[in-house]
Symmetry: C2
Amino acid sequence: MNVPAMKLHWSPRSPFVRKVMVAAHELGLAEQIRTVRTVVRMGKPNEELLPDNPLSKIPTLALDNGQVLFDSLTIIEYLDDLAGGKLFPPKPARFEALTRHALGTGLLDLLILFRNERDKPVERQTAEWLDSFAAKTRAVLDRLEREAPSLSATPFDIGHIAIGCALSYLDFRFADMHWRADHPAIAAWHAGFSARPSVRATEAVDD
Amino acid sequence: MNVPAMKLHWSPRSPFVRKVMVAAHELGLAEQIRTVRTVVRMGKPNEELLPDNPLSKIPTLALDNGQVLFDSLTIIEYLDDLAGGKLFPPKPARFEALTRHALGTGLLDLLILFRNERDKPVERQTAEWLDSFAAKTRAVLDRLEREAPSLSATPFDIGHIAIGCALSYLDFRFADMHWRADHPAIAAWHAGFSARPSVRATEAVDD
């Protein structure tokens, strides 16, 4: 395949970056991507990132022809196209996969907000938001528990990547939630996900 | 075209719902969609929506065969497929369109957070977040100002819908920002967007 030089604005702990890197490993493209450590924070735009992405978000992929791609789904679809198409099933299964992707990515969006709120000084927290974030997280886990059999029966795709990375992030930042206790089926699925070489290759390591 | 019965969890003021409805009008499918008013709030999951979407987010599209689709991008791609394909250009232009879509949708995500923070009691606000949201919004507007000529030169697609709906939301919830003053080129583009029948048909009206 004809692969352009690619620079990825990257961070070892961003779950959205991890989605892209898991996909890149699954597609055999990880070695083609030059990663550049880029720190983004809710409370401070990264001035060096803004020319490539004015939202100051990662992942952001810059190609050597000057083209810049984001968000994670756009980047993964681009990489998938370079590799001949593996992670997006044909229609109509595509729409089920994209909805699973939206469920996993929506869980990540929710967990980022949850963590930002939880880590504030208590006098600035909004209690009903914390309750709401916890209730939605439970609702997603309960749904995933029911969907675990069909997730296991479906060839690995973009939906599995998003859901798997979201559950790994739950382990990483919400370990005290002990989500596996009440969700054995999706926990078993996640154990299989975590054993994939693409997932092991992208584990966050402490500095 | 063979169109299934579709129920859309909908709200008149959700900019993400509006993206879907603008697309439906552009595709000639608006009359086929039964809209159901569904209220979602950051601080309270909608219990009636959770069975269809455990994230408690709108838009969520339920088909008569029991299949449920979200988020807005997934729904629009599904509708576009039903209508024969109009709003997603062929590759490689597809990836530019998806990145513009991510820019517009990312601006919306940012503005929702901005509004939630701004509308809190001042003692619970985080000042650096408000500054950061404002700086990112300016960075996006400055980018759009530079991209206005290419936006005008490109056939109307999913990217235009997201950017247009985001700027309309800026008018609706951040009127005091007076974004047009420093951004005449993208303001002119937005005037053309706002004149489209699909956009006029989806204007929020007060109850």
